[in-house]
């Protein structure tokens, strides 16, 4: 009787249906689209539970969604007044749930959602809701905020959406580079939320990373957005995600790069990343994603070689020219230490003066480890005081335990757990 229920089937189909319905109804009617989608899954739940999952679950879902959408339009046309919102034109358009139109509608939806007029935080929330089919509760969990906060945030974002974009369009040649930039920023923000989760005690959010990657894949499906920067971003995500299986220990604690069992790294993802990075090496510009992906590529090879660290140092030098960030500066300093020794790195590190950043002190502790263990302990104590999450505090405490004359913590990246 039962087919296998594909994990996240409802969630994935939700975003597809909403995208197509918004295409038909317009962005102003986004809530109507969401309601119709939800009702469709309720209908599935009330039916499949008793008669089994249909042979073609998606087809069943699309047929029901179409019907509900048509019923909705019929109901509206019955009560419409003169001068209504162009319902006749809309009512006439077929609701096209073919693969092509779904993919096309989703692309347009991505551009609509990742609109610079909406705050970055709200873009990610909106993306999770509309592009990924997450519930309000689920989004609140991911960001460790309340249901009400997320709900209000999304309402405001949808309001802006309705104001800023009347239609669902792919930006034209002039606008697309800039708009794509905004999309990639949001996708990487989403991925990072899953990968680093500064604001959530449960550090690994695989779901969020998978969704970010799925959306990046969607961009690659379309000629107009299949660009080197997108390939580079997806390569970066692949390299980082490849380490997911190794990042968690027996009791759920975070396992740092140096301690990871590399046989657990997902080689398929690494290979995919390599292919993407090669495919990204066309065109004339080098985006920050290219550089970060290249650095991440080096880290797929655990073995320490001079070439590895020299390359990484050069890449960080380049990255900092494109975009200066404290974490990049700290990581560069660490690479500097591996190439030119701790003493040189200490001098440069002290000039950074990132005294509000616990990673800064973790790095200093690392650099002082062999040369001045007492100073190293002092730095770790500072780091402990500044650390924001329990996971980070645990990591620092472990380092404190292991600091001694013969035994410095040996990590490729004291600044970001990998």
């Amino acid at each position: 009787m039962n087919q296998d229920l594909v994990p996240h089937l409802f969630r994935r189909e939700y975003s597809k249906i909403v995208a197509v319905l918004v295409r038909n109804f317009g962005l102003e009617k986004i809530e109507v689209a969401e309601d119709i989608a939800s009702e469709t899954f309720l209908a599935a739940m009330q039916s499949w539970t008793y008669v089994g999952v249909p042979q073609n679950p998606s087809a069943w879902i699309y047929a029901v969604a179409k019907n509900k959408a048509r019923n909705h339009l019929t109901r509206l046309s019955k009560v419409r007044e003169i001068g209504s919102d162009g319902l006749d034109e809309v009512a006439g358009l077929p609701i096209d749930l073919t693969d092509t139109n779904i993919s096309d509608s989703q692309l347009r939806m991505i551009f609509a959602v990742c609109n610079p007029a909406i705050s970055a935080e709200s873009q990610v929330g909106l993306a999770l809701r509309i592009l990924c089919g997450f519930g309000i509760e689920e989004i609140a969990d991911a960001f460790l905020t309340s249901r009400e906060t997320i709900y209000k945030r999304l309402q405001r974002a949808k309001e802006t959406l309705r104001r800023e974009a009347s239609g669902l369009e792919v930006p034209d040649e002039l606008a697309i580079e800039k708009r794509l930039d905004a999309v990639l920023t949001t996708l990487y923000l989403l991925f990072s939320e899953g990968y680093y989760s500064e604001s959530h005690p449960e550090v690994l959010r695989k779901d969020l990373c998978e969704e970010a990657m799925r959306l990046a894949e969607l961009l690659l499906e379309h000629r107009v957005t299949d660009r080197p920067t997108v390939r580079a971003l997806l390569a970066l995500m692949c390299f980082q995600a490849s380490r997911f299986p190794a990042r968690r220990g027996e009791s759920g604690e975070l396992v740092l790069y140096a301690e990871q069992d590399e046989s657990k790294w997902d080689q398929t993802l690494i290979e995919r990343g390599v292919k993407l990075l090669r495919a990204a090496s066309t065109g004339t510009s080098l985006s920050k994603y290219h550089v970060e992906a290249s650095i991440a590529y080096w880290h797929t090879m655990k073995e320490d070689t001079p070439e590895k660290w020299e390359s990484i140092l050069m890449l960080y030098d380049h990255l900092l020219q494109i975009e200066c960030s404290p974490i990049a500066a700290l990581n560069r300093t660490y690479a500097l230490a591996r190439v030119k020794g701790d003493a040189v790195a200490i001098v440069e590190a002290e000039q950074l003066r990132l005294t509000n950043n616990h990673f800064y002190y973790v790095l200093l502790a690392e650099l002082y480890g062999k040369v001045d263990p007492a100073e190293s302990r002092r730095c770790l104590a500072q780091a402990l005081a500044l650390a924001k999450t329990e996971a980070d505090r645990q990591t620092i405490r472990r380092k404190l335990d292991s600091v001694g004359p013969a035994n410095p913590a040996d990590d490729y990246s004291p600044c970001k757990p990998y």
């Binding site: 229920l5 009330q46 499949w48 519930g135």
Partner: protein, 114 residues
């Protein structure tokens, strides 16, 4: 052995649940039914759609349904075989619907004709 109807009463899932949650409930309910079927005690079952429900009143006036308090809406009914009310009640206790506060399971005996 007697037959009993297990009536699921809960609010409209679409109003409160995410797609993921609905898929999860569906899977749980299928598992619950599967457990009863494994004991060869499941007879039949059906879900009732929330959309487009109608209520016909004594004066033949028709209004939109479903009927009753929000959390008492009948979402589905299954028929099971059981030795006693107690056993039927035990089946009912396993229904995932009961995870929701305010939801209930009603257990009714179906008259036998043997």
């Amino acid at each position: 052995m007697q037959e009993y109807a297990l009536i699921m009463r809960h609010e409209d899932g679409a109003k409160i649940a995410s797609p993921e949650q609905m898929q999860e409930w569906m899977r749980q309910t299928m598992d619950w039914i599967g457990g009863i079927a494994a004991q060869d005690k499941f007879v039949s079952g059906t879900g009732l759609q929330f959309d487009g429900a109608r209520v016909v009143h004594a004066d033949k006036v028709v209004t939109n349904g479903p009927f009753g308090e929000i959390k008492e809406t009948i979402g589905g009914i299954i028929r099971v075989k059981a030795e006693s009310f107690d056993e039927a009640v035990e089946f009912a206790k396993g229904c995932p619907v009961l995870q929701g506060e305010g939801n209930t399971m009603e257990v009714r005996q179906i008259t036998s004709h043997s």
